[in-house]
Amino acid sequence: MTFAGNIIARSLALVAIATGAAFVHWACDPIARLASPKGQPDAPGAGTAGQAGTTPIPDATDAQPGAAATDAAASEGAGAGPAVFDPTQLDTNIGTEAAFGLWQLGEVVFIDARPQDEYEAGHIPFAYLVPPASLDSGRLGDLMELGGVDPSQRTVVYCEGGTCDASELVALHLQDMGFTKLHIYVDGFPAWQAAGHEVETGPDQVLGDAP
């Protein structure tokens, strides 16, 4: 083998080692599994335009108040989307339009993973307050018992958007409890508010104060 060939072969060997490590990491990391949950087929071109880090975007197509869910679904995808809003075609990470479309469906559980004071200052209507700090005290059990939430229900978790990871933490716990139709609204409450969607204030009437 030539000198250059030797160098290139060793480069490929290093990449192969990294690929092996990445595969093990990918197989073991629950976040990776969360990114492609069972029962939710990957949707080519389905809405990922609203994911974290991709939409401080002036030309992002935020849904306007009162927009029909079908319009939201159609404009969510990178390409031409289905004419009918189909939640099963959504990715795990969703943007404002998809979150609004799910909210309009009415049968989707919304969970607010922010601190209680922020929740009380304003939250998505009918969202439950479940900050990560409350997980160890059985808040999710209360959610299922008092809120009547079933793990088979489609569930959306959100926090402040941006770099906040509270929604991911809560989603991982929900996944451990058997929730399979999970979505993370990555743009979070600020984007919901900025889009002009309805906002509710005050404490969680069902679960009460977070411990």
């Binding site: 160098i7 480069s11 990294a18 490590a21 990445a22 990918w26």
Partner: protein, 173 residues
């Protein structure tokens, strides 16, 4: 060993440690939040959806493995070559989104930025990667330099006939 040669080997050591340090930092930021990095590369809209999940792990792990190889000076030229290839791909991807008029976040160093202001990628990010490439280039050409496993192996192998090409030509006398 001449003073100039020792200085050159020391410079190579510094360059490879600088590149290694930056790439370990970059890999750490990406591996701390694979979902964010996946979202970042998805924003570039140059790759099919189904390979984003594995890629979100492969890129940082490749950065980490190559950086580790650079730190100890093992197959340093090959590690620098792999890093250089990644930098070229990153530059191409960034140029692609800029030419398409898109606004996406880099995700290069997680929530942080090295030389360019945080936020949407710009030509500054292309320049930043070109600078990193320029730092890695001497290691690709001349090898690991001082305090490396490569030079140690070369010293051991020196004088053995038909040893074949090694990764540390720079330390051959």
């Amino acid at each position: 060993m001449s003073g100039g040669r020792a200085f050159g080997r020391s410079v190579l050591l510094v360059l490879r440690l600088v590149v290694a340090g930056l790439f370990i930092w970059a890999a750490k930021e990406k591996l701390e939040s694979p979902l964010d990095f996946r979202a970042n590369i998805d924003g570039f809209k140059v790759l099919p959806e189904h390979i984003l999940d594995p890629l979100a792990f492969m890129v940082p792990w490749t950065e980490l493995v190559c950086a580790a190889a650079l730190i100890v000076g093992f197959w340093a030229r090959s590690a620098a070559l792999a890093i250089g290839a990644m930098l070229v791909l990153f530059m191409a991807a960034i140029a692609s989104v800029l030419l398409r008029g898109m606004h996406v976040e880099c995700g290069c160093f997680g929530d942080y930025s090295l030389l360019c202001k945080p936020g949407a990628v710009g030509w500054c990010n292309v320049g930043q990667n070109a600078l990193l490439l320029a730092i890695a280039l001497p290691v690709m050409i001349w090898g690991a330099g001082a305090l490396s496993l490569d030079s140690r192996a070369a010293r051991r192998g020196r004088g053995i006939p038909a040893a074949g090409p090694v990764d540390t030509v720079a330390v051959r006398s």
